[in-house]
Amino acid sequence: MSQSARNLACADIGRTESKAHAFRRFRMSSLWLLVPALGFLALFFAYPLTAIVLRSFEGADASMTLEHYEAFFSLPIYMRILWQTIEISLMTTVLCVLVGYPLAYVMANSSPMVRNVMLLMVMLPFMTSVLVRTYGWMVILRPTGLLNHVAELAGLPHFDLLYNRSGMLIGLVYTMVPYVVLTLFSVMRGIDGRLVSVAHSLGAGAWSAFWRVYFPLSLPGVAGASLLVFILSSGFYITPRLMGGDRDQLLASIIAYQVDVLLNFEFASAIAVILLVITLICFGIYARLVGLKQLLTSRT
């Protein structure tokens, strides 16, 4: 019988026979194992999130309304904060890439021993509590801190780098650089250095070879890392709150303030939804551009 004839014959058999043969599957039908995790997430994640989204539309008399969103978008202070969040996140992203790229580059192109030492020195702060690290920077940057002490000794002017935008940026960049380094590092590991040698042999100088050959190859990593940092900084609470001034606050701080102090739950929910939308849009772009695998390798 030819293959196609067999296939046709078999389709018939499948229809009539498969019901009659309810073989006991030796493999435990393992789908039920998903239930606890999914159930847990449904109950304690999906449901609360949905509740927040719904709450953001809740009016004073439990009706559906857009008043909280209107309030947000009409009051200049909130719009300013929104733009500030986006602006600061962008600046953080750019600075992080500028700081992180050379580090990742050197790590990826060093001997295994040097690479491992550098990796360790990136991982240690990365794994340490953000709070602790931020506190450390506060100790360094405060008016009577280490930096100004050294500046005094060296005859440099006084540095005012805490409780203002600069402080917040330093803190954010510091916290996010490891993400950039790790993402770029794993991408750069895959770049074949021989291509640069080939460029040299064809007459390119060091800078040309880098800019025209190596850098374009690393671009997917740069794009991925940038998006990752942007997403993370736009939702960040601890560092901006501690190191920024009162006027420099970001969305996350406002949400916390509305919940903690003002007890304005519906308004807070609306702001949370706005932040969520920004995050999801960025993440959508990220997933399109880079794929989910990158995100996972940089976070683990």
Binding site: I13, F23, R24
Partner: protein, 400 residues
Amino acid sequence: MLVHPNEASGIGSSALAVLEPDERNTMNAAVGNSIVLDNLWKTYGSFVAVGGVSLSIEAGKFCTILGPSGSGKTTVLMMLAGFSDPLRGSIRIDGNDVTRLPPQKRDLGVVFQNYALFPHMTVHDNVAFPLKMRGMNAAEINLKCSRMLDTVELGSLSRRYPRELSGGQQQRVALARALVFEPRVLLMDEPLGALDKRLRASLQVELKALQRRMDVTVVYVTHDQEEALTMADQVVIMNGGQIEQCGTADELYDQPMTEFVAGFMGDTNLIEGVVTGKGGDGVTRVEHPTGRAILAQNGPCAVGDQVSVSLRPECVSLEPCKGRLPEEPNAWNGRITNVVSLGDALRYTIVIGENRPTLQIELEAKISRRGAHGSRFSQGEAVRVHWNAADARALARRKR
């Protein structure tokens, strides 16, 4: 060497001691079971992996299922083992229908392709595992394990871990583990694939000896036809989910029923033609488009069929072409276009009928260097090619 647990004093664990036939009968040593597969089907969506396979294997025999990848041979083995449920059909072992029995109850030994040794257990614990599953006590387990490991000559390595062993040693552990509980049937899925040629050859011999000694029925899956020739009592060739032919290795080699089998079991020449006569004297006459005639042994074809005549290279004889004798059935004139030395033999490529390039025939002859009486043909030489009708076989032509 397997010993019944009730035996009073142990026989010395000499690895090569063979049980006497009458001793074998009084003791409850493992006796191979017969296997009957009846019309097994397995599909994945619309793809037919196994399409109606029926097979009968006698107790204690070594059966090799041979075929290219994708032929369904591993699927059949997995159904036998119980890891794959057939869409329809039945499996009987020793007369019992096991089709619905889960694999852990079938009491079969399975050696997987990559041995699947438990990396977190020592060799001893690996081999002891099936005995533990059967609830034996520690003393018995130790006894059986050490005997089994001695049989496969790994007694000194029982405390090692699989990663510390060579491939050949790992293979033996897998074997020991699969045999220690005295199964009725042993299934093997290309177990020698990752080993080099010499190791493979020596292990093949050992495997066969072990099987005979323990009287287990073996179903052995491979794509290597040489392995089938060395070890099997019964060879089953599968292709495209179906059995092409079944028989002893020699039967399949000398009397293939299809082009596929002829080509799979070794090198062969295939000459196209039409059957013009089928003689009662056991001779079929086939005519090539050029008019040349072939006489072949009677095969599965009728007058008027389009056939390919299978002719093994070692059956082709060459003689210097003294003058230009007229061509006869099974004796043609040609010219050597290539000579290759195979060490023990010479392989000649001969072209016949060069004057009509579109219909020319290319034959390969394999001639032992010893038997050639020193005569060696050179490239470009004109030769006479001939063979016996008994060595040629007319087979249905495969649709291309």
